[in-house]
C-alpha cells in the first residue's frame, strides 16, 4: 500500500520547475545562506510531507546552497525510497527513516528525518512499524530532475578542482543547452586553468545543440582547434543533421574539425607511444642491468636471475607489511607472525625507501650464496652453469609458493607513486616517470661502482684477464663473489621496482628472463652502454609495433624475429668486445 504524493503532472508545472531551477541557479552563488529555511534534514522532512509538487521542487532547489555532502546523502535516500511517512498520534504526517534490524514481526524502529531522534509512539515507547504500515515518500520525474540539477550544480561548484573538471566534462557530454548560462557564469569566476579549459570545451559542446547554425558552426570549429577528443561523437551527429538540412558550410566545418581532432589524436598517440616505449625500455634496462654484470662481465648464465628479481619483490612486500599490519604467514606448516608498525598515509609510504636497500641486500645475499654454493664450481663449464642455475630457479620458485602461496601478493604503491599527470590528453603515470628516473639512477650508480671505485677496478681487472690479475695479487675468488653479489643485488632492485608496476608472484621472474637475456645479447656482452641502448631500442620497437599493428602479441613476435635477424648482421651485439682470441 503506497501513496504517491506527487501525482499530477502538467506541462505548466514542468516549465515552472525548469524556469525556477534556472533562475535559482543564476541567483544562488551570491550566498543564499542568510535566508536559510533550516537544516538540510528539516528541509527534506518538510519537503517530503508537502503535497504540493511545485512547493516541493522549490524546497529542493533551496538546498542548492546548503552543505553539499549532506544534501547528496539525503536526496539519494529520498530518490532510493528510504524515506517513509508516518502518521503520528495527532494524525500529522512525519518523515521517518527505518533504523536498526527488524524485530520478529518485521517491524523497524523509526527515526525522524528532521531531528535524527527516535520517534516516540502514543505509548511513550519507540515507534515501530513494518514497511507496509508506512507510506513511501515518492518522487516523480520532474522532482528527480530538479534533484539532479541541484546535485550537478553542487559538483560544478565543488571546492576540489578535479571534481569540478569531472563535473564540467560530464555536463558537456550531456549537451543540455539549458545548462549553458550556468557554465558561462561559472567560467566568469573560475580561476583554475584546467577547469577553464574544460569549461571552454563543455560550453562549445553545449553550443553544438544551439538553434542557430552559425553558433553551431563556430562551436564545431572551436572544438576542432581544441582537438577535443570527447566531442567526436557530437560533431558526427551535428554533421549528419547538417547534411539532412543541406547546410554545406556546416558539413565542411565538421569535416575540418574532425581532421583537426584526428591530427591531435595521432600526436597524442605518438607522444604516448614514445613515453611508454621509454618506460618499457627502462623496465628492460633495470631488469637486464644485473644480468649485464653476471652474464656480460662474468659469463655466467644465471637462469635464476628472474628468481633473484622475485626475491627483491618479495622483500619489498615484507617491508611493506612490516610498516603496515605486520607479517602473518604459515610456510611449511609453521606459523610466523611478526607485528607491524601499523603506520598509515605518508609515513607508511616511506616503506618503499626502506625496501629499496633491503631488496638489494637480500638479493645480493642470495646471489652470493648461489655463487659460493654452486656457480664457482662451474666457471669453466658455462653451459652447465645454465642447467644448474635453472635447477636453482625451480627450487626458488617452489619455495616462494610454499612460503608466500601460489597467488600473487598485494604490494600497494605509496601515494607518491600512484597518481598521474595529464598534459594535453597525454597521460604520464607517476610510476612510469619514476621507472625512467630509477633506471637513470641505477645506470649511473652502476657506472660509478664499475669505474670510480676500487671494487670496480678489481672487477674489471679480473674480468679482462683473470690469470694476470691473480698474479698481481688480486683475490679473484673474492672478486667473483662480490661481482656476482653486485649483479644479484641489482636484480633485487629491479624486483623492488617491478613490485610497483605489476603483480608480485612466484612466476614474476619467468616473465622477464627471456627479455633480459635478449637485451644483454643484443647490446653486446660485457658492455653496459650496449645494454642501455638495446633496452631502450627494444622497448621503443615493441611499443611502436604494438601501436602500428594494434596487436601486442604480433608486435612482440616481430621484435623477437627482428632480434634474431639483427644478430645475423652483428653476431656479437651492438658493441662487440674486440678480441684476437679464438674460442
Amino acid at each position: 500500500m503506497m501513496r504517491v504524493l506527487s501525482g499530477r503532472a502538467g506541462a505548466f508545472g514542468r516549465i515552472c520547475g525548469c524556469l525556477a531551477a534556472c533562475l535559482f541557479a543564476l541567483a544562488s552563488p551570491a550566498g543564499a545562506q542568510d535566508e536559510s529555511p533550516g537544516s538540510v534534514r528539516e528541509v527534506i522532512a518538510k519537503a517530503t510531507t508537502t503535497l504540493d509538487t511545485d512547493q516541493q521542487r522549490e524546497m529542493v532547489e533551496g538546498l542548492a546552497s546548503a552543505d553539499p555532502d549532506e544534501v547528496t546523502i539525503w536526496l539519494k535516500k529520498w530518490k532510493q525510497g528510504e524515506i517513509y511517512l508516518y502518521q503520528d498520534a495527532e494524525g500529522n504526517d512525519m518523515a521517518v527513516t527505518l533504523s536498526g534490524d527488524p524485530d520478529p514481526e518485521a517491524r523497524f524502529a523509526l527515526a525522524s528525518v528532521a531531528t535524527g531522534e527516535p520517534v516516540t509512539g502514543a505509548d511513550g515507547q519507540v515507534a515501530r512499524a513494518t514497511t507496509d504500515d508506512l507510506y513511501l515518500a515518492d518522487t516523480d520525474s520532474k522532482l528527480r530532475r530538479v534533484m539532479k540539477d541541484v546535485t550537478d550544480r553542487m559538483e560544478l561548484l565543488s571546492p576540489d578542482p578535479k571534481e569540478r573538471v569531472k563535473a564540467v566534462k560530464a555536463t558537456g557530454n550531456q549537451q543540455d543547452i539549458t545548462k549553458l548560462p550556468l557554465l558561462e557564469q561559472i567560467k566568469a569566476t573560475e580561476k583554475n586553468g584546467k577547469v577553464k579549459d574544460a569549461l571552454d570545451e563543455a560550453i562549445a559542446m553545449l553550443k553544438l545543440r544551439s538553434e542557430d547554425p552559425a553558433v553551431r558552426q563556430a562551436a564545431v570549429l572551436e572544438l576542432g582547434e581544441m582537438g577535443s577528443i570527447a566531442s567526436q561523437g557530437a560533431i558526427k551527429t551535428v554533421r549528419r543533421e547538417a547534411e539532412e538540412a543541406g547546410n554545406a558550410a556546416l558539413v565542411s566545418a565538421c569535416d575540418r574539425a574532425q581532421l583537426d581532432i584526428d591530427g591531435h589524436i595521432s600526436r597524442v598517440n605518438t607522444v604516448g607511444t614514445v613515453f611508454r616505449g621509454l618506460s618499457l625500455g627502462s623496465i628492460l634496462l633495470v631488469v637486464a642491468i644485473g644480468l649485464a654484470i653476471t652474464f656480460g662481465l662474468m659469463g655466467v648464465i644465471n637462469m635464476a636471475h628472474g628468481e633473484l628479481i622475485a626475491v627483491g619483490a618479495y622483500t619489498t612486500y615484507l617491508v611493506q607489511n612490516l610498516f603496515g599490519a605486520g607479517i602473518h604467514m604459515s610456510p611449511f606448516g609453521m606459523t610466523v607472525s611478526i607485528p607491524g608498525m601499523n603506520l598509515t598515509g605518508n609515513s607508511w609510504g616511506l616503506y618503499f625507501l626502506v625496501a629499496i636497500p633491503a631488496s638489494f641486500l637480500t638479493a645480493a645475499a642470495v646471489g652470493i650464496l648461489l655463487e659460493r654454493g654452486i656457480i664457482r664450481f662451474l666457471y669453466k663449464r658455462p653451459l652447465e652453469s645454465l642447467l644448474a642455475t635453472w635447477g636453482v630457479s625451480m627450487i626458488l620458485q617452489q619455495l616462494f609458493r610454499l612460503i608466500f602461496g601460489s597467488n600473487n601478493v598485494q604490494v600497494d604503491s605509496p601515494a607518491y607513486l600512484s597518481g598521474n599527470w595529464t598534459v594535453n590528453d597525454v597521460i604520464f603515470g607517476w610510476n612510469r616517470v619514476f621507472v625512467i628516473a630509477f633506471a637513470v639512477l641505477i645506470i649511473f650508480l652502476t657506472w660509478v661502482v664499475l669505474n670510480k671505485t676500487s671494487l670496480g677496478l678489481l672487477i674489471r681487472a679480473v674480468m679482462q684477464n683473470r690469470a694476470m690479475a691473480a698474479c698481481m695479487g688480486v683475490r679473484t675468488e673474492r672478486v667473483n663473489m662480490m661481482t656476482f653479489g653486485f649483479g644479484s643485488g641489482l636484480a633485487g632492485l629491479a624486483g623492488a621496482f617491478l613490485s610497483q608496476i605489476g603483480n608480485v608472484g612466484p612466476n614474476l621472474g619467468q616473465n622477464y628472463i627471456v627479455d633480459s637475456f635478449m637485451t644483454v645479447v643484443v647490446g653486446g656482452v660485457g658492455n653496459i652502454i650496449g645494454t642501455v641502448i638495446s633496452a631502450l631500442g627494444i622497448g621503443m620497437a615493441d611499443q611502436s609495433l604494438q601501436q602500428i599493428l594494434g596487436n601486442p602479441v604480433l608486435g612482440k613476435i616481430l621484435v623477437l624475429g627482428a632480434i634474431i635477424l639483427f644478430l645475423q648482421w652483428k653476431p656479437a651485439g651492438l658493441f662487440a668486445t674486440r678480441s684476437r682470441s679464438l674460442d
Binding site: 648464465i301 658455462p382 644448474a388 617452489q398 635478449m518 596487436n551 613476435i557 623477437l560
Partner: protein
C-alpha cells in the same frame, strides 16, 4: 666416453631390451599382466626418450645446447594433431565438420592450410617437413653467423618463446589457442581410446625409438659422428682442417628436430592432447635434465634419463606434490655438480676413484720406500 657400451655383450643386452619393449610388453598387456595404464605410460616415456635422444644428438655429440627441442616435439605433435582433429568429423560437441574450437571461434569454413591434413600420408610428411624446415631456416641463420655456445641456447630459447606466443593466440594462427587440440576420436579409422589401438600406438613408439637408436648409433660411430664430436671439442680446428662446420651442424640440427617431431607425433595420440604448454621453454630444459641425468654423449643415457626422471616425476608428483619441483631442481644441481656424465658415467667415475686411490697408494708406498731405503739394512 662415447661408446662405453661397445663390444658384443652390450649389443646383445640392448637387443634384449628392445625385444622386451617392442614385443614382450605388448604381449604381456594383451595377456592382461601389464595394465593398459602402465602400457600407455610407458608409451609416453618412450616418446620422451626420443626427445631425449634429439637433445643429446645436439648437446652431447655436437656441443649445441638447444632449448628449442620441445618446440620441434610439439610441432610434430601439432601436425599429427591437425589430422586427428579433422578425423573427429561430426563426432565433436558441435556436430560440425569443423573442429570444435573453430566453431567456437565462429569460423564458417576450414582455413586453407588445414585442408590437406585430411590425408594421413600428408600429415605424416608434415610431421617431418615442418619442424625440419624450421630447423633448417633457423639453423642456417644461426650457424652462418657463427652463433654458438650460450648465445645459441639463448636464441633458441627466444625462438621457442616466440612460437609459444604465436600458438597461444588464435588471431595469428588458427591452431586452437590456449586449449590446443584435444578430444581425438579415431586414428586410421580405429577408436583412439580402445586398448588395442593404444597397444599398437605403443608398439609404434617402441619400434620408432629402436629405429632412431640404431640410426643414431650408425650416424655417431661413422666418420660423420667423428667430425660431430670434433666440432664439439674444438670447432676452430675442424674449420682449419677444411671442413664446413656450419653445414655439419645444420645437418645434425635438422635431423635432431625431426627426431623430436616423430616423438611428438607419437606422443599426441597417446596422451590425447596437445597445447602450447607443451612447447614452453621449461619443457626443453626438462628434456635437457633427462639427458644430463642419464648421461650425455651416449645414446642409451637419454633413454635411461627420460624414463628414470619421468618415473621419479610420476612418483613425486603424487607422493610429494609440493616438493616435486624442489626434488627435480635439486636432482639437477647435484647431477651437474657431482655426476657430469650422468648415470651411465657412474661406473667410470667409481673406477676412476678406485684407480686414483690405487695410484696414490703406490705413490705413497714408493715414497715410503724412498724415505726408508732398506729398513732391514739398518
Amino acid at each position: 666416453m662415447n661408446t662405453p657400451l661397445s663390444g658384443k655383450m652390450p649389443t646383445i643386452a640392448l637387443a634384449a631390451v628392445a625385444l622386451f619393449l617392442v614385443v614382450i610388453m605388448p604381449a604381456l598387456n594383451a595377456g592382461g599382466i601389464v595394465s593398459d595404464f602402465t602400457l600407455n605410460t610407458w608409451g609416453k616415456y618412450l616418446c620422451y626418450a626420443m626427445l631425449g635422444i634429439a637433445v643429446d644428438l645436439l648437446w652431447g655429440y655436437t656441443g649445441l645446447l638447444c632449448l628449442a627441442q620441445a618446440l620441434f616435439f610439439s610441432l610434430g605433435g601439432y601436425m599429427f594433431g591437425m589430422h586427428l582433429m579433422l578425423m573427429i568429423g561430426k563426432l565433436g560437441q558441435y556436430k560440425s565438420d569443423l573442429p570444435d574450437f573453430m566453431v567456437f571461434l565462429g569460423l564458417k569454413e576450414l582455413p586453407g592450410f588445414w585442408q590437406p591434413f585430411y590425408s594421413f600420408p600428408f600429415a605424416t610428411l608434415m610431421v617431418l617437413a615442418v619442424p625440419g624446415l624450421l630447423a633448417w631456416v633457423f639453423g642456417y641463420l644461426a650457424f652462418r653467423s657463427r652463433i654458438k655456445g650460450v648465445y645459441f641456447s639463448i636464441l633458441t630459447q627466444a625462438l621457442t618463446y616466440a612460437a609459444w606466443l604465436i600458438f597461444l593466440s588464435n588471431d595469428i594462427i588458427t591452431m586452437g589457442g590456449n586449449n590446443g587440440f584435444t578430444d581425438f576420436r579415431t586414428v586410421l579409422g580405429a577408436d583412439i581410446r580402445s586398448p588395442e589401438t593404444r597397444r599398437i600406438l605403443y608398439i609404434a613408439s617402441a619400434v620408432a625409438l629402436t629405429l632412431i637408436f640404431i640410426g643414431c648409433k650408425w650416424l655417431t660411430t661413422s666418420r660423420f659422428g667423428l667430425i660431430q664430436r670434433a666440432i664439439r671439442d674444438s670447432e676452430n680446428r675442424v674449420l682449419f682442417s677444411g671442413y664446413s662446420a656450419a653445414n655439419f651442424k645444420l645437418f645434425v640440427f635438422v635431423i635432431s628436430g625431426m627426431i623430436a617431431a616423430v616423438g611428438g607425433a607419437l606422443y599426441v595420440p597417446q596422451v590425447g592432447i596437445i597445447n602450447p604448454g607443451e612447447m614452453a621453454t621449461a619443457n626443453s630444459l626438462e628434456a635437457v635434465v633427462w639427458v644430463a641425468v642419464g648421461g650425455r654423449g651416449t645414446l642409451i643415457g637419454p633413454i635411461i634419463g627420460a624414463i628414470g626422471v619421468n618415473r621419479l616425476k610420476s612418483w613425486a608428483t603424487t607422493e610429494y606434490p609440493d616438493y616435486w619441483l624442489i626434488i627435480l631442481g635439486a636432482t639437477f644441481v647435484l647431477v651437474v655438480l657431482f655426476m657430469p656424465k650422468g648415470i651411465v658415467g657412474i661406473p667410470g667415475q667409481i673406477r676412476a676413484i678406485i684407480e686414483r686411490r690405487k695410484h696414490r697408494q703406490t705413490i705413497r708406498e714408493e715414497d715410503l720406500a724412498a724415505a726408508n731405503p732398506s729398513p732391514e739394512a739398518e
